[in-house]
Symmetry: D2
Subunit: 309 residues, 4 copies
């Protein structure tokens, strides 16, 4: 079954200067680093981009910066899948139109949040967004943030009806993930991505089309190797590459409770990129603290043993 | 202890025309109905206003419409406490500045949502908003939406340091509510409101300064009577008025699972106001369905037995 | 409406010797202390008794020890309401028969736990227990342990059908508590108790028949005074007594995260009773740690400022 | 690394006669069916056995019936891993001793439930059970029932210290599962099993030692084929067998909300076994309803298309 989107599509992090302003030069560097790493697309304004923490002006700056860096890669440019991250339907539609104007090739939409909805309202929500925009829509299933798990039958129905072009799954529910992959098998050009960095081999073995790994910011080539091994049917190699990446993922545990779950993971990715010389500072969005020296040292050790420094 | 804000401060609903556009004439009517009912303030852009579902333009229209209707009441005008409802710190600050320009006398701020924070980031969050705006800030504790319960010790510390002027509690946790009231007793001008319509007598007996009842849109006078009885120490009367209002609150259960929790309660308030001739339509924000004829009939019965029709 | 059970019915703690064995002499002392404090009944084998941690032999020893101490009070003896704490229906029935043989005047039954049920199975569960035993049954709503909130309409239906004689509510949901009290108002001899130590005044104002306070082990007389004030309609005095008891309840926060929620509260009650000379040791059931010297010192301060030492 | 336990170890269901009593003849049939299917062990008194619903006498009857049927297989007999399912430490120890006397080769222990513990008490809990019994202990991670997720670092520490011999993971958290497998890789004779029927290929690819599939009651041979393919490195065949079993797993969704989650899955397994002529009745434990004719017909269709009828 031919698919529109497949492979490694990392959610691009958002570098900031030490004063908190967006660091467009570093963002351009990250984009090039990812393209050089062999990624198949870029997921822009995702959770890993700290999108909930950005002002509207910052969101626009980030999309246009990545779009420009991507365009300058010429033939090596990849599709931009951009988050239209807002609380409810009409706000999502406004946001979607904005990011499409800025160059999005597809948009990513979650279920509502802060609002208290149900499955029926969620269906109306996705159909209303579909009616208002003319780019492919990916449903983003991230109940740890939205506190609503997208039901498998709803996703399949939206897929069959052409409302959504695929799913980015960060639900942490591998059972429903497998069931979605099976149920959606015969929908043309319907692409399912896992958002979980350490179980990509199993997801691909089960039939997923790709992965959106936050850790892919740090090691895009590693995920590309994993994906290529899987495509080639060399599952032992895929699992072994996955095990190495799972070890690399330990960088997110270096803060060990000192900071919030949000700040720990994203802070670790930024700190790694800073150590690798790709971005200038590991500064986080307000109100998140940046990782400190102790944590930076611990991350350095992990990068070194994985050959990234 | 003198307080800045106390009494009945209902969260004003947002009427829409059948076509979905904001109905400013009906909104003006609701505002007058509330002022006539003896309310002590108006909570604008709260959850009951369907604030998460409004576009930015709609939010501005709603605040300015209510501000105008309130101003035209002359000496009977009351303070406007306006929600600065956004995901994270810098977005809240932008929203807060906007609503203050539109006439807010105080703002209401929740902990972050969609973002995954912790107590320490939440403290930074409130302190950053405080540093950026010069109107009183009420912390809004609504874990059913934010999925983060504001810790009592944090609220007390923020109160003592003058960061927040009070708390609107919709946590559903009456134990922590009482402990907050006790712990904050000696903070000057610190006001604590319950958001729960059916336990106001107990909250006032425990020492709360007021109530922000969604149901107060329908029966502001009833809540005023309850509050006055409590102020006068006539607790038997307060409890009896509360029991009557608890019966009136049954309107929110008429959909009985047909629609989401959000649509049921707010839909019932709007349907009641429509039946009472105060607003034109019970139309809900996209993607929420409006209550139907069966539900409207059931609500009519409840309004009638409570003397509101 | 006459009621079978009302007033203060504390859940009796289970003293252990330092070696972990049940300390029957101390248990007899606690029982006398409670009867002297003016309690209206004793809740035996409740959560505060550490019932989940007891072996079957220990449970029998505890019930018979309390029953004997109670009986020796002669005319001052009170009803024993005993927990039949087991995972599912048939196990509850076996347990209920055992405790009735040992002297229970009524039994307390939760919804199932570990098992994954629903409202319909829960209804079958209570009806099956009712069919098997001939003592009054109290439904115990404790979702923090069972992870199932007993629905108000189910409780009312079970009450009307004579399946249950009342409810002990430890749900922490004051809204549904008030709605239950209102909905059950006309059921004869149906008694509703709150299990929350610091909101008893509000619960009684709302129409509850009594309270089952863990803290009542430490200060039964204080709760009796609160109850008597409420009965007399002196709500200002009830609230003031409640505020004092809320301050006393601070003993449960002295461990401040060092031990589990279970061990902190029960450990504090036992430590207070030890300081007051009523029990020999504050030893907890395996695997819970006992409170340490620092915590004991902090508890002493709180007892002293509340006139209990 | 040699391991003590690996392969397919299904949790044996508990057949009941239509009158609710344990059907030992059918239980013997199920046991033979599983041994014939090539299983490597039997998980007795697991959740799939409806263990929470059994009285103590029933538990003993079930263990001894399976032990006898297994023993009569002579050289084909397999190890019995038996659940010691109780609320807390001392109760687990009593239960463990009982099942070891009845023939358990290893026991399965969850964290506490109904009790409110923490990680430290859970560690004490497992160490206390270890000190009291002399058979291998498997930690059973089932937060959907215990509402406590066993932390990876705790499991690894207990493994290294010889307290536990492995883990049965029904946490639904594939990320922590992979991290556990990696972290425990160098612990000798430490075996990790997934309890999730539809993601076994991925779990084995990641390094798990085996699977405890409830669905294995219905199709033990299918799981054996999956396991053998994985052992042989034929991952395409493993995935294809997994896909077929995922389709078979659809039997658990036939009730579609009519009954509780517990009753649906176990009811489906029993109904399938009844249709296959292996057990006499699909009767469930009180208070669970049995699947009805409509559901039975739907299950028949699924069994037929998977070649099991």
């Amino acid at each position: 079954m031919s698919t529109q989107f497949q492979g490694v599509i990392p959610p691009v992090v958002t570098p900031r200067h030490a004063d908190g302003s967006i660091d467009t030069a570093s963002l351009t560097n990250v984009t090039k680093h990812l393209l050089d790493g062999g990624v198949a697309g870029l997921f822009v304004l995702g959770s890993s981009a700290e999108v909930p923490y950005m002002t509207n002006a910052e969101r626009e700056l980030v999309v246009s910066t990545i779009a420009e860096a991507n365009a300058s890669a010429g033939a090596d440019a990849v599709p931009l899948i951009v988050g239209a991250n807002e609380q409810t339907t009409n706000r999502v539609i406004e946001e979607a139109k904005k990011v499409i104007d800025l160059g999005a090739d597809a948009i990513v939409v979650t279920s509502m949040y802060y609002a208290i909805g149900n499955a029926s309202e969620t269906e109306t929500h996705f159909r209303a967004v579909r009616a208002a925009v003319d780019k492919p829509i990916f449903a983003y299933d991230v109940p740890v943030r939205t506190h609503f798990k997208l039901p498998t039958d709803l996703l399949v129905r939206l897929g069959r009806d052409g409302v959504i072009a695929g799913v980015k799954d960060s639900s942490g529910d591998d059972v429903s993930f497998r069931q979605l992959v099976l149920a959606a098998k015969d929908i043309p050009n319907f692409d399912i991505f896992t958002g979980h960095e350490v179980v990509v081999d199993g997801a691909l073995l089960g039939g997923a089309q790709g992965v959106v790994p936050g850790l892919g910011n740090v090691d895009p080539r590693g995920y590309r190797n994993l994906f290529d091994a899987a495509q080639a049917g060399d599952w032992a190699k895929a699992a072994s590459e996955q095990d190495r990446l799972a070890d690399l993922f330990e960088i997110v545990y270096t803060p060990n409770g000192r900071v919030s779950g949000g700040a720990a993971g994203l802070g670790a990715f930024k700190t790694a990129l800073q150590l690798m010389g790709i971005i200038e500072s590991n500064t986080m969005s307000v109100p998140m603290p940046s990782l400190n020296e102790t944590e930076t040292t611990a991350i350095k050790v992990i990068l070194e043993r994985n050959g990234l420094l």
